[in-house]
């Protein structure tokens, strides 16, 4: 078990910087998710830890050891690949035992250890089969077994659940969480699925364009997104973001094209501290913090209905506010009865405010 530290790490492919000055420390035993859209550099970051890519700048440490120029084979890492990368010509047992075989562990000791790990992952009945003969979920477990068998310093996961169907994915997710608790190894997990990141991580590092935008515990990222990018990326559906202006003359308020939101006193204090009158802002409200209302609400929203999606335990109501769309998430298993014009109110405590450049204003 070891920590992982990045100091100003860069990785350029030609002129494109896939990873652009990344700094972080992952402490021993911590489970960190790298989250971001495709092409944001999260997989490259993971491959840099594994040693499958060479950093073009900065340095990488695993524990106290500087591994920047160390080959992958010498880094003592266990990795689960997106396609599992099980060797098709070896049996499941041989696949799991491969890291031990490479380390010249004697056959008996190897067999014992393979049995132990396979039993723990409930694939001990499949050891004689070949990867092509078992299901996707079993392949995934085999891949995990192969990654843990030699008790590595660090565990790396490259979107390990993306090849499973929806039901199996949830099952595998709980299983991985359980495994991490049990084994307690430092783990870095790449995903583009925010629900996966929220469920698994001790801390989430949200990445965009080769940089880490925010790195914090899941609920912190959810409740206090550092930028509009993070706000838009986390949550399903994502946060409603509406452009507006600060108006401090008279009653302090945010004025948008088709709405006016009065500022609460603590919001006003923060806004006065960081912004001036007339400044462009983006206000954000999560769909789950909005609610429908029969009558017009002062400081709320109203507009024509754009779409109604009933999902079973909840419904998504989207209305058009000026030129912007606003989604309201209602927790009710009945479809809501809607008039042509929909009114929505929200909890003013849950309002987010961002500068024009996307940075969060700390309003709480």
């Amino acid at each position: 078990m070891a920590s992982v530290t990045f100091h100003d790490v860069e990785k350029a492919f030609g002129t494109v910087k896939a990873v652009d000055g990344v700094n972080f420390t992952i402490t021993e035993g911590e489970f960190v998710c790298l989250l971001g859209p495709s092409g944001c550099g999260k997989t490259t970051t993971l491959r840099l830890i594994a040693g499958l890519e060479k950093a073009t700048g900065g340095n990488i440490q695993i524990g106290d050891l500087d591994v920047t120029h160390l080959a992958a084979k010498d880094r003592d890492i266990g990795m689960v690949f997106q396609d599992y990368a099980l060797y098709p010509h070896m049996t499941i047992g041989e696949n799991i035992g491969y890291p031990l075989k490479v380390r010249n562990v004697p056959t008996d000791a190897r067999a014992t250890r393979i049995g132990e790990v396979a039993k723990n992952l409930q694939i001990d009945k499949l050891l004689e089969r070949r990867p092509g003969e078992i299901s996707g979920g079993q392949q995934q477990r085999t891949s995990v077994a192969r990654a843990v068998v030699h008790e590595p310093q660090v565990f790396l996961f490259d979107e390990p659940l993306s090849n499973l169907d929806a039901k199996l994915r949830l099952e595998a997710r709980s299983f991985l969480k359980h495994l991490q608790r049990e084994v307690g190894v430092t783990a870095v997990y790449v995903t583009h699925d925010q629900a996966e990141a929220m469920a698994l991580a001790d801390r989430i590092a949200v990445m965009n364009e080769g940089r880490i935008v925010q790195m914090a515990p899941p609920l912190e990222v959810y409740h206090r997104p550092g930028t509009t990018f993070v706000a838009n990326f986390l949550g399903s559906p994502p946060m409603n973001l509406l452009p507006g202006k600060v108006a401090l003359d008279g009653e302090p308020r945010f004025v948008g094209e088709a709405f006016t939101i009065p500022m609460q006193s603590h919001v006003e204090t923060a806004v006065r501290q960081h912004l001036s009158d007339g400044a462009q802002v983006t206000v954000g409200i999560r769909p789950e913090h909005l609610d429908l209302s029969q009558d017009p609400v002062s400081g709320g929203f109203q507009g024509p209905l754009y779409a109604l999606e009933t999902l079973g335990p909840e419904s998504l109501v989207t209305l058009k506010v000026g030129d912007e769309l606003l989604t309201v998430r209602i927790f009710s298993d009945d479809a809501p009865q809607l008039a042509d014009t929909v009114h929505a109110a929200f909890d003013p405590e849950k309002l987010h405010v961002f500068r024009e450049n996307g940075e969060r204003i700390p309003v709480e």
């Binding site: 010498d74 880094r75 990368a85 380390r103």
Partner: protein, 288 residues
């Protein structure tokens, strides 16, 4: 009011048309198949007839006399069981091993232009083919002192077959997902170990394809050994088959037929052996 409607074909009409179509198809494809099968049939029966000519007819009586006379020809037999084998297996091993290593390097190395090199090689080999290049090849082999040696023949064949072999092998290597090798590297294996444990077993069916193909090419090659060899003791079967011609240059059909049958057997056996032992299949990636 009324629209001209075409009466749909009745059940019987449709059935008749179907049967007719089938009959035409089978007759046509039978004729086509016969064109290719007849020479093979001839090859399996003619050697057993003492009166064999180019007609296809069952031997009467069946006899092994042709084979007895072929086995009396020490030159032809040595050519078949010794020289052709040395040259065939020698070139096969050299082509398969070098093509595999080259294909692996071309597929995996991070050097720009590897694809251009692969395609360029194939293009070159088809432009500069055997006959046209025979004079320079001959001169080169003379200067290297390899004239009239098995090694000279093997090297020239290998040179000719390698581009296509590299091309075929590269296709096999390219279809191995890189993650296989990467996961082995992360597991702690050195580059050589990754190649030996992971890449080699997975491309082995490809190597078998290339190996059998190379063997067949050399086995049937006439011009190169004919020109590069002098000593009758080193001639392969493809050249030795001419010892069953009369002085006037007409083939003794009985003996040629028997020798031809013996000549095809090793290739057939090699194919069956490889197919049984390794199978011409390919693992490919696991469905993702």
């Amino acid at each position: 009011m009324t629209r001209a409607t075409r009466t749909p074909p009745s059940q019987a009409q449709r059935a008749a048309r179907f049967v007719l179509g089938r009959i035409t198809f089978y007759v046509g494809s039978s004729l086509f198949a016969a064109f290719f099968v007849l020479p093979l049939l001839w090859l399996t029966v003619a050697p057993f007839s003492t009166l064999a000519n180019l007609d296809l007819r069952l031997p009467d009586p069946w006899s092994l006399q042709n084979f007895e006379r072929v086995f009396e020809n020490g030159f032809a037999i040595r050519a078949l069981v010794q020289n052709s084998m040395i040259q065939g297996f020698g070139a096969m091993l050299l082509v398969t091993l070098t093509a595999t290593l080259a294909a692996y390097a071309l597929s995996r190395a991070n050097i720009p232009g590897t694809t251009a090199i692969t395609y360029g090689l194939v293009l070159f080999s088809s432009v500069v083919t055997g006959t046209a290049a025979m004079v320079p090849i001959f001169l080169m082999i003379v200067q290297l002192g390899l004239i009239d040696t098995h090694l000279g023949v093997i090297l020239v064949f290998t040179g000719g077959l390698l581009p296509a072999a590299v091309f075929i092998m590269r296709d096999f290597v390219d279809s191995i997902p890189r993650s296989y090798e990467e996961s082995a590297m992360v597991a702690g294996a050195s580059s050589w170990r990754v190649f030996r444990d992971i890449a080699l077993p997975i491309v082995r069916p490809g190597m078998m394809v290339v190996g059998v193909w190379a063997f067949v090419q050399v086995w049937g090659g006439f011009l190169i050994p004919f020109i590069l060899l002098r000593d009758a003791d080193k001639m392969p079967a493809s050249v030795a088959i001419y010892s069953f011609y009369t002085e006037a240059g007409t083939p003794l059909i009985t003996l040629t037929a028997a020798y031809s049958l013996l000549y095809t057997l090793p290739v057939l056996l090699l194919y069956l052996f490889v197919n049984w032992r390794y199978g011409f299949r390919f693992f490919g990636g696991i469905k993702s």
